[in-house]
Symmetry: D2
Subunit: 254 residues, 4 copies
């Protein structure tokens, strides 16, 4: 029953004073990007320039993916039933699980475990694919039901390369893609989840945070869908993935 003092190292708040991992809130409101603050609040330290850009790209990469994912269906259902925007976001976040966004942490876990083994990355990848074959497992983070080539993967790896940031996990990730093609004779390109799994592993993230990063990234998309449902649709309409049409802006560039 002891009312023992417990400890927290995230933020320090007292009258007139808010410090996030030691940094003054007013200072970071001005000097840091939100992506850097996300990194800070989760990791306890500021990211390097490369890490900041990668974090930003990761958060942007999965901000939305249209109305088909089941998380969007749940979010829109909560609004359709006549509830608040925060409940709608919570409903969508509940759907993000082992089968939806879960490949980030699953692939990161495997890559972190296998990257520790000694020897050439290509040999590790070959052993890993052999193990997948023997155990009848699928490699999470590879292949996509919709995208033959996931446009987000190349961009993430480009940014890492440009900063000379590619480490053993990105290397291993690419070697796995090659080994899957050679050993299984299947083209299973790295999808965004596998790419994020590799990048955050090189950044030193605990793989268990993979799903959480996806949740952070997707929440604005869920809010956009909840709000659109609220202002464009009637309550209790028949909700389902099809048929729908996109009626937003056409292709444009920055």
């Amino acid at each position: 029953m002891g009312n023992k003092t417990w400890k927290t190292g995230i933020s320090d708040v007292s009258p007139g004073r808010i410090r996030i991992r030691g940094y003054d809130i007013a200072e970071i409101m001005e000097k840091l990007t939100y992506a850097e603050v996300v990194y800070l609040v989760l990791r306890g330290e500021l990211p390097s320039k490369a890490e900041a850009e990668l974090m930003n790209a990761i958060l942007v990469s999965t901000v939305d993916h249209g109305p088909l994912p089941p998380s969007v269906l749940a979010t829109r259902s909560v609004i359709s039933g006549g509830n608040s925007l925060n409940a709608a976001i919570a409903g969508g976040v509940l759907v993000i699980g082992d089968s939806h966004g879960g490949a980030i942490e699953q692939s990161a876990k495997i890559m972190q475990e296998w990257a520790k083994k000694g020897g050439e990355v290509s040999a590790i990848a070959a052993d890993l694919v052999e193990w997948l074959k023997e155990t009848g497992k699928r490699m999470p983070g590879f292949g996509h039901t919709l995208h033959q080539v996931d446009p987000r993967t190349a961009k993430l790896f480009d940014i890492a390369e440009r900063h000379g940031y590619s480490g053993k996990h990105i290397e291993l990730c690419r070697a796995i893609e090659k080994a899957l093609e050679e050993k299984l004779d299947k083209k299973l390109p790295i999808n965004v989840n596998g790419a994020v799994g590799a990048v955050i592993s090189d950044m030193g993230f605990d793989w268990r945070l993979g799903k959480g990063l996806f949740v952070i990234s997707r929440v604005p998309g869920l809010l956009a869908h909840a709000y659109e449902e609220m202002i464009r649709e009637k309550p209790l309409r028949k909700l389902g993935p099809m048929p729908f049409a996109y009626d937003g802006p056409g292709d444009r560039n920055i």
Copy 2:
């Protein structure tokens, strides 16, 4: 029963192609900050430079506020019961409501309605405070149980001013603060919720998105608490706000 086509204008996804409000995902992963993408996904257009900085500052401003808010208690309870990080975030998001973060949209609603009235801002503020007195209502977004002066308010308004962005709602917000002091003889400084309410009103946001912006901002903080609970605490410990101690980094600057 009609399976009528419904419309969505948020993102357009087809094989090998993801467009957010018209912009290619790979392009915005590199060229936009996450705060700009949050703005884009919610508003449909790119923010100006001033709006991008304000959006960033808003998202940073409420990323965390220590372990006392009830949303953190719920988030930690979900982990303590033996559940996943996404469920923990959902649990915390459910708590963000009319009494917790709700002052953003409540103050934005009032300021948007009263700002439409003609005449001097100071006269509008005087009338508003009179109306509050008569109806016995409190003005949401003013005063704070902990912070006499909320350090986030000044910084937000500074950024707006530096860009020459202060519009009628920020003006009105300041005039309300002054009128509250004069008419009620109470010092009720603008807190972060009131400041965000004013800034997003000048940015043209529907007030109904206020709580949603707070949810986006706070999710990384909730994840940090969920993860800390998971790695530092035993399941089913006695959870409650007190007593706890901060044991993170001391004060530091960027």
Copy 3:
């Protein structure tokens, strides 16, 4: 900051002893039906025989309504995303809102307010329908998109009548149905929500508990759907209301 003692009157627990509203848990496990315990835990007192039967009938009446309601869609989405049964139930419960199950409390609120007015019930109903016409409001709890005559309404009222339990709210409910037909020339039969709203009003329930009773009633149905999704379907299947087919047992009697 005062750690003031707060009060709760629901249950009293100490080593080897659990009392629900004063009653010993072991005694009520044997002597009370679960419906009676639901009544007890919410109201603080044991129900009469009539109230016990009505409570039972209310909980049974909305235990499930097939896979189309948006709450079921959200529940199945949570499983489909790869999450736990409790998260799936929570996802469904989040959808139960003003437009889904909300008519119970909305109709109870109106009936409780209008029943207080003096005079004949038929006159109150006439005035109420007049007010609805003038304000352009719909009467919640009347009419159903699917059921012309809701089979649950008659049964609930039968049970009440058999026990001589029909009070002013059930009377008013029936008078409203008649007045709607006469004044609006529309057949809007009392649906299960309106019937439950009337019965719980006669039972003395705060109308604000209406949605909560519906949640209790529906949770087993949501669990059944979550479990069926888990054991019969693959993760991340296209989820939507149609088309589906019922393949359970054919019609049978007790």
Copy 4:
């Protein structure tokens, strides 16, 4: 993409007609207890007399346990933040997890797996405890932080015995209690979770439904706490388990 017909066997709904697992809703509203309907909706068949009483006792046994469990803390936090009763229930349901109510399914899983082994129940129990010792595992469903002897266990087993319903799992459960004492020299009495785990295993439930049954049972308790928080407390009060006082009715009998 195929819009393939999917199947559900829970309920069959068409205009004017609702059948739950084949039974007419109006008939079961009158002839079945809610506990029997919970069994029906989950299992697809009517319970025997013994099963109906056991189901009722199980649902009653965990309807509430005071304000200390973390699920109640989350439920009250959701109300305290200014949200709806359904969101509050969802918040509490999210907390029910591996460490809170999870011992039902964990113990049922172990008992179902070990009960399949041949030989005397006492020998199986001895082997099981040996295995626990070797692997350093705890047996879920035994021991309680508060109750030395859980008053709910004896009552559940009494009801089973009275009906001659005790099967291999209840026997095994008791043998494990004895073996734990003999081999580990620890008094770890069967708690309600272990007892429910044994009883539902004898009833033929999939162990994976254990947590779901606990959720059904506890939802009325969560609603009672949410409602009490709503009507007795101010928003955003300091929430925490202590100190509180019970101020409900004193001990009383039916």
